[in-house]
Symmetry: C2
Subunit: 177 residues, 2 copies
């Protein structure tokens, strides 16, 4: 499994659709169907985004999720940490203290500070995180806006609004978000 | 499991000991015992380092591994790639083509080039890899040399030489590397 998993991919795609719908809340179920992805998988991603203050939820028939902040104020790093937790790139086992010449009593210099190998990995992790922190949802949305034809955004809004209206009317209205 | 696993940690520690023993080949078994780590696990790491041209192996009673290049010519990135394979930080599922408004026929603009989310992840991966490529075994060895007292390196050489001599004499001599 890759370090940054499908949960982040799904979450980021959803957040971009929410950025495109700043006033109409979208349900996790509709977003899943809209993107052809697993509704049950996506339903586990949204509570993490809500807990991290990235989306806000409203309940009721027309309930769903909205971005809790402007797209330019939400970094990719925040989304990754919200969904993956703060998992390290490298999990140091501290084997430096086990060297046989210490006869099970490593001297203090040997285990002082961060292991030199771990330090290299922490620098690489910081470089990766800094790169993710430098990109916001607005940056990604800008790339997409330059690719898509003008009518696309309107097609999307219409599809999602039709679905939300169907929820408000239809028998599935009580199934929640 | 972390993206960069214990195999890399064990491999890098071993390579540092090999850097400290430029003329006497060290066996994977002795290096495992010296560091208090699993010999069978370590035995799977060394063939990968050999295949990548990072170590060279010699056979026979006094056989073992030597660095194939100078420590300053071996980057941490090479060691990571040799042991982990070239595994991606993020494995894009290309969900952008499944959007419901395309009705299963995504237009060419929608799937052209790298997905904007994938591009962000590739930049973060490049930042991480560049950082690992900027560090060599010699850099890490330099940090350790500044920490350890002068006699430590000699203690290590003596322990490993005694072990290699024991192998040459003892009944375990035919057990290989």
């Amino acid at each position: 499994m890759a370090h940054i998993t499908a949960g982040v991919e799904y979450g980021l795609h959803c957040l971009l659709w929410l950025a495109n719908s700043p006033e109409v809340p979208l349900s996790s179920r509709d977003l899943a169907e809209f993107q052809g992805i697993s509704p049950s998988f996506l339903a586990k991603v949204f509570p993490k985004l809500e807990k991290a203050g990235i989306v806000s939820a409203s309940e009721g028939i027309k309930g769903g999720y909205l971005l809790a902040r402007q797209p330019g104020d939400i970094t990719v790093l925040e989304v990754v940490d919200a969904i993956e937790g703060r998992k390290p790139l490298f999990d140091c086992q501290e084997i430096r203290g086990r060297c046989a010449v210490y006869r099970e009593r490593p001297p203090s210099w040997a285990t002082k500070g961060v292991c030199a190998i771990h330090a290299v990995m922490l620098r690489a992790e910081k470089a990766m995180r800094d790169s993710l922190a430098n990109q916001t949802l607005a940056d990604i949305a800008g790339v997409l806006d330059r690719k898509a034809p003008p009518e696309f955004s309107e097609d999307v809004r219409r599809w999602l609004a039709d679905r939300a209206n169907g929820r408000a009317r239809g028998p599935a209205a009580t199934e929640g978000m």
